[in-house]
């Protein structure tokens, strides 16, 4: 329990830093960067304490929770709660470690920016939202933090909002995410409708008891996954992530590579228990297709950050593929290893861009500092960046002795054994292996174009220099985390490591109920059989094939890339233009939306306004009649009654003369009349 309180402290510390920074940041010494970075390093230490405790306990079933009532509406209670289990602990370490290093790196990268303090405030806010997303054990809480990370992502992508492309990219990211979030929200509503609770424990109970099953469970699982598709930039909602590279590079490293975009994977991990075989298949195919699809685009892009962005999409596709095929631990494992090496790749590219931009500015050259064609030979000037970048590239390509090899191999083995039990799904491992080869190819292409050869613009060469210490230290730390020893004793298999011991696949009641006729789980069980060694050998062959082709094309020049492009011009153009997905969206959805908006505007102007004006005029006329009726009929009636009363009063008043004698005469006449009448 104490650990959970510690985790909540970890969560709230960045919020505190954010509040102080946003209000007083500019007045603090050094514009407050030490506060945010310091808070994050304290967070990292606390997370490591939690992690050490988890390692000491070494209990796969470890889980503590804390619940409290949030909203009570009549008899309906909406509780919130936090949970700390092994997955949470691992995620806490990943997020705080990458955050702390990126924050440190930002000090150097953002130096001299006019909104320096606000940048750090946003970063801190992001850390708060992301940690909340990890800690909540409740779909409602997760959804709130889900939107908060979307917001901080939006703020940071559009951080340099003076540039049109940056503010547009921010909007694009936000709106594309909304599409996914809508699906997720509908999924949550279905879950709530059936189970009456948002708590993951409560949902699990009703899935296990069989109350929540069948096609509605499949629908709920797929809809929740739609949220993950948006946030994790999976096909077809991947279009925002490459544009998100308009943000500062440390932001790309932290949010759009290591942490926020894997929130979708984390969500699938959290709802894993409620996935049915059908929803698993959907997830697997989307992940596998995205992995291959994004890799093909990355092959031909020239913008260094865009290559990395498509690489991120592809790698997240891997994780989703792993989860969809039931390789639960492998997917989560890849999430962790990817977070470190992809953050390193982004920070390394940031270091390169920073140096090249500086050189171009000093040499007064107007060229794009992110275009790889304008780079080359940087290894001689930037050794630290180069070597750390090489380590990360090797890791992502799946070369042995790296973390990436372990996790990617586990995923490929998982898909292979899944396809072994279900031969009709042979496409899934095919996607995986092909994407692995392409990954090795495009990553080495990037390295060769950037760090080898000659610098394209020799005039600026003299101005290139290695980045500052605050930027290189995070690179070195992250590169150390790319080696296998941190994850497993064995360089070829993660089975013996702490990770596979601590992360246990949750029971999938829906899959178990579906029986053996449907999909039985592949993944983890399969890794102990022969498919693991096949996967090992095949992935090695494919990775090295990719590296060698890349070497021959971009280093020794034995194969000409231009010739390849000319051989398949149509394919090349498709890949270069990202398979025209953006164009497709602007031709269909965006055009439809704009047309519909124009129609709505016209409708407003011409129909609704006209109706309103007519109504107003008719009302005026009716009011005029109404006024007349009031004045003449109603008032006349009232006045008439009054006048009549007055007249009657005047008549009767004539009798009342006040003269006693007249009254007496009346009295006598009446008396005489009475007497006469009585006697007759």
């Amino acid at each position: 329990m104490a650990l959970l309180y510690l985790a909540i402290v970890i969560w709230l510390l960045p919020l505190f830093a954010f509040v102080v920074q946003i209000f007083f940041g500019n007045r603090l010494p050094r514009k407050g960067d030490w506060l945010v970075v310091g808070a994050m390093f304290i967070d990292l230490i606390l997370a490591l304490i939690i992690f050490a405790n988890i390692l000491i306990q070494y209990d796969p079933g470890y889980r503590v929770t804390l619940h409290f009532d949030w909203i009570v509406l009549g008899t309906q209670n909406f509780p919130l709660g936090f949970a700390l289990d092994n997955v949470t602990a691992v995620m806490l370490v990943v997020v705080t470690a990458v955050s702390a290093l990126v924050f440190l790196y930002s000090i150097g990268y953002m130096k001299g920016d006019p909104r320096y303090s606000r940048y750090f405030a946003y970063l801190s806010f992001f850390a708060f939202s992301m940690l909340g997303l990890i800690l909540f054990d409740n779909l409602l809480g997760i959804y709130m933090c889900w939107e908060l990370v979307g917001l901080s992502s939006y703020l940071l992508i559009g951080f340099w909002f003076e540039k049109d492309s940056a503010s547009n990219a921010g909007k694009k990211a936000f709106i594309t995410n909304r599409v996914g979030d809508f699906g997720m929200f509908v999924g949550m509503l279905i879950v709530f409708y059936v189970t009456g609770t948002f708590s993951l424990d409560g949902i699990e109970a009703s899935v296990v008891s069989g109350n929540f099953s069948g096609s509605i469970l499949t629908a709920a699982g797929i809809l929740l996954f739609v949220g993950a598709v948006g946030k994790s930039a999976q096909f077809p909602l991947h279009v925002w992530l490459p544009d998100a590279m308009e943000g500062p590079t440390p932001v790309s490293a932290l949010i759009h590579a290591a942490t926020m975009v894997v929130a979708g994977v984390y969500l699938v991990v959290r709802i894993f228990f409620m996935l049915t075989p059908d929803s698993m298949l959907v997830i697997a195919y989307i992940g596998g297709f995205t992995a291959l699809f994004a890799a093909t685009i990355a092959l031909v892009q020239n913008d260094i950050k865009r290559v990395l962005a498509y690489s991120t999409i592809s790698q997240i596709g891997y994780m989703i593929l792993a989860l969809g095929t039931g390789a639960y631990a492998a997917g989560l494992f890849h999430l962790m290893t990817h977070a470190f090496f992809k953050a390193l790749l982004f920070l390394g590219s940031g270091s390169v861009i920073h140096a090249v931009e500086h050189a171009f500015r000093s040499g007064k050259i107007d060229a794009d500092p992110q275009d790889m064609n304008n780079m080359g030979g940087l290894r001689r000037k930037m050794p630290v960046t180069f070597w750390t970048f090489i380590i990360a590239t090797v890791a992502i390509s799946g070369v042995p002795f790296t973390s990436g090899f372990l996790s990617k191999d586990a995923i490929l083995a998982g898909t292979l054994s899944f396809a072994g039990t279900h031969p009709q799904h042979f496409l899934l491992p095919f996607f995986g292996f092909l994407a692995a080869g392409l990954t090795a190819f495009y990553m080495f292409r990037l390295v060769f174009k950037t760090f080898f050869g000659e610098f394209s613009i020799s005039k600026a060469w003299g101005y290139v220099h290695e980045s500052a210490l605050t930027m290189t230290i995070p690179l070195v730390v992250l590169s150390i985390l790319c080696f296998f020893v941190f994850y497993s004793y064995s360089p070829v298999s993660p089975d013996e490591g702490w990770f596979y011991h601590l992360i246990e696949k949750p029971e999938q009641a829906a899959v178990a109920n579906a029986g053996s006729a449907m999909l039985t789980t592949g993944g983890e069980e399969g890794e102990h059989d022969s498919s693991h060694s096949y996967a090992l050998i095949m992935s090695l062959i494919i990775a090295f094939t990719g590296i060698i082709i890349s070497y021959k094309t971009y280093y020794s020049g034995k194969i000409s890339a231009v010739e390849w492009g000319n051989m398949y011009p149509r394919l090349y153009r498709c890949m270069f233009n990202k398979w025209y997905v953006d164009e497709f969206y602007s031709a269909t959805i965006i055009r439809f939306t704009l047309g519909w908006s124009a129609f709505c505007g016209w409708f407003d102007d011409n129909i609704i306004d006209r109706v309103v004006n007519r109504t107003a005029r008719v009302t005026v006329v009716i009011s005029w009649f109404n006024g007349k009726f009031d004045n003449i009929i109603v008032d006349g009636l009232v006045n008439g009654i009054a006048n009549t009363t007055q007249l009657l009063g005047w008549f009767t008043r004539q009798v009342q003369t006040g003269k006693i004698q007249q009254y007496l005469v009346g009295l006598l006449i009446a008396l005489v009349l009475i007497i006469i009448l009585r006697t007759m």
Binding site: T657, G658, K659, Q661
Partner: protein, 101 residues
């Protein structure tokens, strides 16, 4: 022998003269005098009925009471007339119509 009818006729005449005086006189004193006539018309009738029937002296006693009451009434009424005159400088009953208000 004078019969009952003669007395009753005298009483009725007295009553009518009294009424006429009350209704027609403009002077409040005249009105009071009319009232005295009416009262005494009643007295004549009481005494005549007492004399011609065997009811003893009941009618005569009532006549005595009426005298006393008439005196008291005349005293009070004259005092009122004096006060009216003091307040309004007139005893013309046509001009005294404050009941109307």
């Amino acid at each position: 022998m004078i019969t009952l009818e003669v007395f009753l006729t005298i009483g009725a005449l007295l009553f009518v003269f009294g009424i006429l005086a009350v209704v027609t006189k403009r002077n409040a004193i005249g009105v009071l005098m009319g009232v005295e006539l009416i009262l005494n018309a009643a007295n004549v009738n009481f005494i005549a009925f007492s004399f011609f029937t065997d009811t003893g002296i009941d009618g005569i006693m009532i006549a005595l009471f009426i005298f006393v009451i008439a005196v008291a009434e005349a005293a009070v009424a004259l005092a009122i007339v004096l006060n009216i005159f003091r307040n309004m400088q007139t005893i013309n009953v046509d001009e005294i119509d404050s009941l109307k208000k």
